[in-house]
Symmetry: C2
Subunit: 304 residues, 2 copies
């Protein structure tokens, strides 16, 4: 089924203990839609770039079944740019530069053909923009997923609370779940967040895996222990893309399917961090993904 993703398409300069990559293609929507493309071929993307964005990358995305009618290309302007440097432990990073450029005036307009999308992934942007996108849908999607971050809780909580009422699923990290709910226990945090709107909550814990709360059920997806984490950039967005891409390809939205979506998302994220930027995601194939999914089963399954 159709999956509409809205989020950044951008350039990143990334420094990790393993090296530096200058002005490589990044952005939440880039990672998410490429990850999702391994599971669903009816994808739509809404974002904005400058005319500095390489045609080759757009052609690659189109080849992977991602419709770019909703990608606004601003002539004479520059794409969003982020530069960051990871610390030795890869768990924290310093932002060295953020140049909003085209993102400063981003006011997404959905192409008509996008308005009936069955799945909607709202990448981390201002809550106002996320709300505007929901309002443009002609029909309520089967699932609206929202990604956000502590920054919007600090500066735009009223708007964030408004958009939370309109979504089915929220993905945030553990610290953000605690901030949003005022509860340290993630079980209690989930109960409070359910009351704010999202019936489904995914708490991302990076190298410590991810938790799914849905009604009174809980599921835990571990992170694959890796010998090398080369570049963590985009891992969360890749998780969201794998998660939504799997759901868009599945027949129903029951708990078993959400559990599988957690594992698909975790598997895609475990590939993402193996190389700089989207490099590893681009040279993936189905059999590598299936092998990794089985490795997750080996990692987590036991018999009593």
């Amino acid at each position: 089924m159709s999956l509409l993703t809205i989020g950044t398409v951008a350039f990143d300069t990334i420094e990790t203990p393993y090296g530096k990559a200058e002005r490589i293609v990044g952005g939440a929507a880039t990672y998410a839609s490429i990850a999702a493309s391994y599971f669903t071929d009816k994808q739509r993307l809404v974002s904005v770039v400058g005319d500095d964005f390489p045609i080759a990358e757009m052609n690659y995305m189109k080849k992977r079944g991602i419709d770019l009618e909703g990608l606004d290309i601003k002539e004479g302007e520059k794409s969003f740019f982020w530069a960051g440097k990871y610390h030795d432990n890869m768990n924290s990073r310093d932002t060295l530069a953020t140049e909003l450029n085209v993102l400063a005036d981003f006011n997404p307009k959905l192409p008509k053909a996008y308005k009936d999308s069955k799945f909607l992934l709202l990448g981390n942007l201002t809550p106002e923009i996320q709300l505007k996108v929901i309002k443009q849908m002609s029909k309520k999607p089967k699932l609206i997923a929202l990604d956000t971050m502590n920054f919007w809780m600090d500066v735009a909580m009223p708007a964030l609370k408004k958009v939370l009422k309109k979504v089915d699923l929220l993905t945030i990290n553990d610290e953000e779940a605690r901030q949003l709910s005022g509860e340290y226990s993630l079980v209690k945090a989930a109960k409070k967040i359910h009351k704010m709107g999202p019936e489904i909550l995914v708490i991302k814990k990076g190298e410590h895996g991810a938790l799914l709360f849905m009604n009174d059920k809980v599921f835990f997806a571990p992170a694959m222990p890796l010998a090398e984490v080369f570049d963590p950039t985009g891992a969360g967005d890749t998780f969201a893309g794998g998660f939504m891409g799997y759901l868009a390809s599945s027949k129903s939205l029951n708990f078993e399917n959400f559990k599988r979506a957690m594992i698909y998302g975790s598997a895609m994220a475990s590939f993402c961090v193996e190389e700089f930027g989207i490099t590893r995601l681009k040279r993936l194939n189905k059999s590598q993904i299936n092998k990794r999914l089985k490795d997750f089963k080996k990692l987590a399954h036991f018999e009593l």
Copy 2:
């Protein structure tokens, strides 16, 4: 089969955001042997207490099948005492008092009947004491498990390295695994630690679960998400006790059994933190444990 546990039997004063418990019974060997007693009835304990230690607690342990011939009771002396206060997040704590008392001169002597124990759990003590215990065994146990901490890495690394060569299994937390190996990646850390001696490595990550590395295999046991963590004291020791107690009751030491041991340990630890000290462990029953084990399966299992 027989399980010999060596470690502290002590008093703790514990303050958590939920309240304060004064001079309650604690100590690594107490938690571990009570946890193990739900799975194996041939347990032996080596420790030391003063004559301030309550007879009722010793009788309780005996009733649970724990042989106390190896518990040295020092007349006119005081038991080891620790006082600590947990911070609001329960993940960190301040030590307010440590009174070694009888522990200062602890020089464990194994009763003759203990020397052929099949399973040996060496609780967190000085590496010299741990080594002395191994040397007193008349026959190599089927499994020697060692618990240690960063403190001994800081002040007694040469002795710790000696004892590591003689054990089959090591349990430490993630930061300690990094310190011991000099590797940030836990996969790489496990490889290096295997070369130091232990063929099996259990990395405890508290609320983030625990990892098992054995040969080239890896298994992850999640922590049960709980609405309340009342008192985390002894959770790691309870994990070790449940782990070793299960193994001592099982017929072989294959990877499947170690995986199950990880889940049994995690289940017992998830009970431990529900009340102060050993309170919850004391009023457990088999059907509650079996229910919790099944909850772990629900938490971690999925079908592809």
